[in-house]
């Protein structure tokens, strides 16, 4: 049963939330040892929350649109009184004194939290191998990575440990693992979902979004978590009131929509032939559903990755300065506060986090700011302009999500740049702030899932979801 069905069954009293959560917990029991999707399984809390939902239904109350739906949270979202680690040693044992806004919204909608999911440390990575607590494995083939950084959240939904989960997407960290795990993953418009309580990686790029097994479930989850939050200055005021509800338009079809297949994220070197084929096939499916489909170039998108790997580390170097051993988390003793800071950070951060802190610090330092950070920001402007130009001709754009299907554990860990290339198709949307999502569409010869990426202009989530729903509907016949 998917999230939409579960919520309907619990709300109507047809099924009990406790029974639903027990089913999920027993699946976790059976397979979590192998997959390691979670940093924390909240079995008792989940049972208690489910019992409250059942009690509310028994009283004749409506617990909300996600009544009794088991949800997993990426472990970079603050949960009051519960460990929140970012899969880093430096935050091991820290219990935030507050809840993230998305956590409050989900709880108020009747969701039942089953656990906090594993991620690449501070969301830096594309395979979930950079976790201080060990890697997560892909439910489709445990010798392979689930993608990252939200690999635990993607795996949790793919393994049906939870009907829904939340991830965060700074350069593709929701969409890429969604593609590799064969689930739906959405990065909403920047500012659509509050970042309050999301532990920052790169503030101008980070965005929270849902994982789900169906496009409709993803829309349901998104409509619960988005909307203005006065605690986040970058939260867009008009969401959701001024824009269309994705849920309401899902079955409207794509007749008359103009779809552009972006060459730079479909045909570029390094994108596997079967992935290209899947994108083209999705295009054909949309065409036969009544859309017009053409190829289009977004030239500066090619430079997205380079700009991204300057901007994101620069912001991260500043966001991660606060982990200094003074107020919370790990402390490694030192003679002076300076030594204590440096020892704590050297011991508490993993290799990839240090690499990015170093990269970002360098990119911002005197003499290099203009050449690196400054230029990257100008490239960001060019990418935004190129997308705007493309959206004059097209309602949505299409491309690959990940250049390849899930790769073997360890395949890219020795070569940081090879790992970074996993994000080449997803970073442009983070730089532009526009929404994008990955929809499963077919598989390779070995049966490993492939995801197709749908991109839309800012706040046009409704159109994006219509197209995603059409691709989802065509999936059966195409694969």
């Amino acid at each position: 049963m998917n999230a939409t069905e579960l919520a309907a069954a619990v709300r109507s009293g047809e099924r009990s939330a406790v029974e639903v959560v027990e089913e999920h917990l027993s699946r976790i029991d059976a397979r979590e040892g192998e997959l390691h999707a979670f940093n924390l399984v909240m079995a008792d809390d989940a049972r208690a929350a489910a019992a409250q939902i059942d009690a509310a239904v028994a009283r004749g109350e409506d617990p909300g649109p996600l009544a009794g739906v088991p949800v997993a949270l990426k472990d970079n979202m603050c949960t009051r009184g519960l460990p929140t680690t970012c899969s880093s040693k430096i935050l091991d044992g820290w219990k935030p004194p507050y809840d993230a806004t998305v956590v409050t919204r989900l709880r108020d909608a009747g969701a039942v939290f089953v656990g906090k999911t594993n991620l690449d440390e501070f969301a830096m990575g594309s395979s979930t191998e950079n976790s201080a607590f060990g890697p997560t494995r892909n439910p489709h083939d445990p010798s392979r990575v689930p993608g990252g950084s939200s690999g635990g959240s993607a795996a949790a939904v793919a393994a049906d440990f939870a009907a829904l989960s939340l991830g965060s997407d700074t350069g593709g960290s929701i969409r890429q693992p969604a593609a590799l795990c064969g689930v739906v993953g959405v990065k909403p418009t920047y500012g659509a979902v509050s970042r309050y309580g999301l532990i920052a990686f790169a503030s101008s790029l980070d965005q929270i979004g849902p994982f789900a097994t169906t496009v409709a479930d993803a829309a349901l989850a998104l409509e619960v978590i988005w909307g203005h939050d006065p605690l986040d200055s970058t939260s867009i005021g008009s969401v959701p009131s001024a824009i269309e509800s994705p849920l309401a338009v899902l079955d409207r079809g794509v007749e008359g929509l103009r779809v552009g297949i972006v060459d730079e994220i479909t045909l570029a070197e390094g994108i596997a032939p079967e992935v290209r084929a899947a994108v083209e096939a999705a295009g054909l499916a949309l065409e036969s559903a009544g859309a017009s489909v053409e190829h289009v170039s977004v030239p500066s998108a090619e430079y997205g990755l380079s700009a991204y790997y300057l901007i994101a580390p620069a912001e991260a170097s500043s966001n991660l300065a606060r982990y200094d051993g003074v107020r919370y988390g790990l402390r490694v003793d030192g003679e002076t506060v300076e030594q204590m800071n440096a020892a704590t950070r050297d011991c508490g951060f993993g290799a990839e986090v240090k690499r990015r802190i170093m990269l970002g610090t360098y990119a911002l330092s005197t003499g290099y700011y203009d050449a690196y950070y400054g230029t990257a920001q100008r490239v960001r402007t060019l990418i935004i302009r190129d997308f705007e130009r493309a959206y004059e001709r097209f309602d949505v754009l299409l491309g690959a999500t990940s250049p390849t299907v899930a790769f073997e554990l360890g395949a890219r860990t020795a070569d940081p740049l090879a790992m970074y290339l996993s994000d080449v198709c997803t970073v442009p949307s983070n730089l532009s702030g526009d929404p994008a999502m990955s929809v499963p569409f077919g598989a390779d010869a070995a049966g490993l899932p492939i995801g197709v990426q749908v991109l839309a202009p800012a706040l046009q989530e409704a159109t994006m979801f219509r197209v995603a729903a059409a691709i989802e509907a065509a999936k059966g016949s195409a694969s």
Partner: protein, 496 residues
């Protein structure tokens, strides 16, 4: 140089000029902090005014306090600043345990106020910029006599972290310690008048760093030293004078002044170099991605402009002109928050029963000492009571001396002076008939003294007249109107 001290001193005054620029940090008097809803309070228990935002907890985000923008616009008006269409915040990255995020959110190259000025005693001091930033926490250093580097460890309190500051940076336009002191005085009075800060140096809500250099008249600027830790106007002037001497001595010995940060040591009366750094600072400023630009609307600008109070400089000129008081009196009136307003209301309430100068006299002496003693604000006192008191003195009901006691009680008990006068039976006897009768009685009873007065020289005359006056007052139980009594006594003595 091998000059004797005397000639060296003489040549200094001739040849050397001090150049001073000031950076003033002012804590804004908002209810809450800059980016969070914690109270902006001084003196609370350590670490009780903190939340996820000002403690820099992972996941927290800043949201700008709207009153801070309004205050910045007031500062903009008061000091003739340009307030650009758009200003933004940057992050200034450096590690320090007082700073919860290990970066300070501050304004950098697009601040809210640019290119203003302040006239100080007829000299225009340029103000380069005024920008918004957050304050840090506060640490105490234990062991090592409280000195930071000798301490065994330090304890940090984040109550002050995130309190809104405005940093006001002047041009190097001041040429003496006195001018610098006056600049800060005038700045404080103005900030106080526009209600954006309580400007208390002793509580750290106004902090001054001084950039000081010397040069021969007409030369380029010399290398400057930045002096920190000046906690009063007096130490500011002392520190500048000390630096002036130190730098000139160095230059005259043929040494160079080092560009460095130095700390004022109040007890020793000197500045000392800070710890030298291995490497220059590199703050890696970049635009704060968690905040959006400030773009003050035309409405807000108009509202602020319309609600600006009269500024101290204008008020001073007006009071001197209209009330006939002197510069010093005007200065005293304006340097105590609310005192000028108190006096202005009292003058209106006089209704002709006295002069503004009388009011200012009482306000800057008796009322001010009461305010200083009790720590009360003049705004809490009723100026109408002072007006009544001045009227009672003016129409001769009570004497100046009596009035002093009456005012003290009036302030203390919040009672009207008239009521006190009648309660204590203090009203003067000003009835000529009654007074004349009393004088006649006294002269009749002291005929010998009258006789001695008549035949005595000036010295004797003065002594006897004083005695007779005293007898008259005694007879009237001290309540005779002294001026009237003096006239009646003289008339009768002259008449013989």
């Amino acid at each position: 140089m091998t000059d004797t001290t005397d000639t060296a001193d003489a040549s200094r005054t001739d040849q050397w000029e001090t150049v001073v620029g000031l950076e003033v940090h002012v804590e804004l008097a908002t209810v809450t902090k800059l980016f969070c809803a914690c109270p902006n309070l001084f003196g609370a228990e350590p670490n009780t005014n903190i939340c996820p935002v000002c403690l820099g907890l992972p996941g927290s985000l800043p949201v700008l306090n709207e009153r801070v923008v309004e205050f910045a616009l007031r500062v903009g008006e008061a000091f003739h600043f340009d307030v650009p269409e758009r200003s933004i915040f940057h992050r200034k990255n450096y590690f320090y345990p007082d700073m919860p995020k290990d970066f300070q959110t501050t304004q950098y190259d697009e601040p809210i106020c640019l290119a203003g000025w302040l006239d100080v005693d007829g000299v225009r001091v340029g103000i380069t910029r005024a920008h918004l930033e957050e304050d840090t926490g506060k640490s105490v250093h234990l062991g090592g006599g409280g000195r930071i580097h000798d301490a065994s460890h330090s304890l940090v309190d984040y109550n002050r972290a995130g309190v809104p500051l405005m940093e006001i940076v002047s041009e190097p336009d001041m040429r003496s310690s006195e001018q610098a002191r006056r600049y800060v005085e005038e700045l404080r009075a103005t900030l106080l008048a526009i209600g954006v800060s309580d400007v208390k140096m002793e509580e750290g809500s106004l902090r001054v760093d001084a950039n000081i250099s010397v040069r021969h008249y007409g030369d380029e600027f010399g290398t400057r030293a930045e002096i920190k830790n000046v906690n009063s106007l007096r130490s500011l002037a002392r520190a500048i004078d000390y630096e002036h001497d130190r730098q000139i001595e160095m230059l005259e010995r043929g040494e160079r002044v080092k560009q460095e940060t130095r700390h004022w040591d109040e007890e020793a009366g000197c500045t000392r170099p800070g710890r030298s750094k291995e490497e220059p600072d590199d703050y890696r400023y970049f635009p704060e991605p968690d905040l959006v630009p400030i773009a003050p609307s035309a409405e807000l600008r108009a509202h602020v402009r319309a609600s600006m109070p009269e500024l101290p400089a204008a008020q001073r000129t007006r009071l001197i002109d209209e009330w006939g008081i002197n510069d010093h009196e005007a200065g005293v009136l304006l340097s105590t928050p609310g005192l000028a307003e108190y006096a202005e209301t009292a003058v209106v309430a006089l209704d002709g029963g006295g002069t503004p100068k009388d009011v200012v006299n009482w306000a800057t002496n008796d009322v001010l000492s009461y305010v200083n003693e009790t720590g009360l604000s003049p705004a809490l006192l009723a100026p109408e009571m002072l007006a009544e008191l001045v009227r009672l003195v003016g129409d001769g009901t009570i004497s100046r001396n009596q009035a002093r006691d009456v005012l003290a009680e009036s302030l203390r008990e919040e009672k009207w002076p008239k009521a006190i006068v009648s309660e204590r039976g203090l009203a003067q006897v000003s009835d000529e008939g009654a007074l004349g009768a009393a004088v006649d009685d006294v002269l009749a009873q002291n005929a010998d003294a009258v006789e001695e007065w008549r035949s005595g020289d000036d010295k004797v005359k003065k002594k006897k007249r004083g005695f007779l006056m005293g007898e008259c007052m005694k007879a009237l139980k001290g309540q005779g109107n002294p001026q009237l009594l003096n006239r009646l006594l003289d008339e009768r003595l002259a008449r013989g």
